[in-house]
């Protein structure tokens, strides 16, 4: 472009195209405010705290997390302390951990914030957040929970049980036992899994042994 007029024209065009593109972006991204009812998702978070930590410090961590959730307009549905449990593998050379389970309705931003804080804190060994549903009506869920729904916990022998007062501890083991007897589990050895011989015969032979083992548990 040799003439100045052409250059100006060209630059104006580019400027206008940029403006248009920006406008499209703002239009598509939409307003940045959170519509409270629509964006409440139901999450559950489990985090493991080091076993040596004092009870009030664990309370402090939990309350920090709940304040973040409620600061963004969410609601806590339930918080359970599963207490000290034996870990399936060593985490930071620790054999046991203090499990805390939280069920809440919140905004995705609060989840990111909570996880960021967990990551920084040295006393928290692990955390896991699971999204249960995309939309959640906190009031309705609270009513459902109040009807004594059994909360699934991994209650292993010798560990502290839940501090729920709604007979959940009694309901849970019964249900689990029912499942065990119905399903008739057969411990499959690794050879059977990888190899391909004698599968059916082996399973049938091993069934009486395993049933005895389950009863012993």
């Amino acid at each position: 472009m040799y003439h100045v007029k052409d250059q100006i024209h060209f630059r104006l065009c580019i400027y206008l195209i940029n403006l248009l593109a920006l406008c499209q972006v703002y239009r598509l991204r939409g307003p940045l405010q959170v519509h409270e009812e629509e964006h409440m998702r139901r999450y559950e978070t489990i985090f493991i705290v080091k076993p040596n930590v004092a009870e009030d410090e664990i309370e402090a961590i939990t309350s920090k997390a709940t304040s973040i959730i409620e600061g963004d307009g969410g609601t806590i549905l339930r918080i359970n302390n599963w207490g000290l449990k034996k870990l399936a593998y060593l985490i930071k050379k620790e054999n046991q951990g203090y499990y805390v389970y939280a069920d809440y309705a919140g905004v995705p931003a609060s989840v990111a914030e909570i996880e960021r804080i967990f990551r920084i804190d040295d006393r928290i060994l692990k955390y896991l957040t699971v999204k249960l549903s995309d939309s959640c009506d906190p009031e309705a869920v609270k009513e459902e929970l109040a009807k004594a729904e059994p909360v699934p916990t991994s209650d292993e022998e010798g560990m502290e049980e839940e501090k729920d007062d709604k007979h959940k501890e009694q309901e849970e083991p019964d249900r689990v036992k029912e499942e065990l007897t119905k399903t008739e589990p057969v411990p499959v050895s690794d050879k059977e899994v990888t190899g391909e011989g004698k599968d059916d015969e082996h399973e049938e032979q091993e069934e009486p042994d395993t049933v005895k083992e389950e009863q012993a548990d």
């Binding site: 493991i48 399936a88 593998y89 916990t153 022998e157 499942e179 050895s189 599968d199 059916d200």
Partner: protein
């Protein structure tokens, strides 16, 4: 190759389809433990006869449980 393709004669029904009350949840380690070998490996679908959908959910739940140290990645499951 030796003839390794054996057709399993027994019609296996998916446990979870038959019994809708069984919930697959990563927190319920006792039910999950049934689907894992002694060394902690996930049992394939063809042995237990689970349907694909439930096998996927099961695998997902087991992996989550492993992540949160409710089940081991390898080695015997305690208790």
């Amino acid at each position: 190759m030796a003839p390794k393709k054996r057709i399993f004669p027994r019609q296996k029904v998916c446990r979870f389809c038959a019994d809708k009350s069984l919930v697959i949840d990563y927190k319920e380690v006792r039910t999950l433990r049934n689907f894992v070998t002694e060394r902690g490996k996930i049992i394939p679908q063809r042995i237990y006869g689970n349907c694909a959908k439930h096998q996927r959910k099961l695998t997902d739940a087991i992996k989550k449980a492993r992540q949160i140290a409710l089940m081991p990645y390898s080695g015997p499951t305690q208790l």
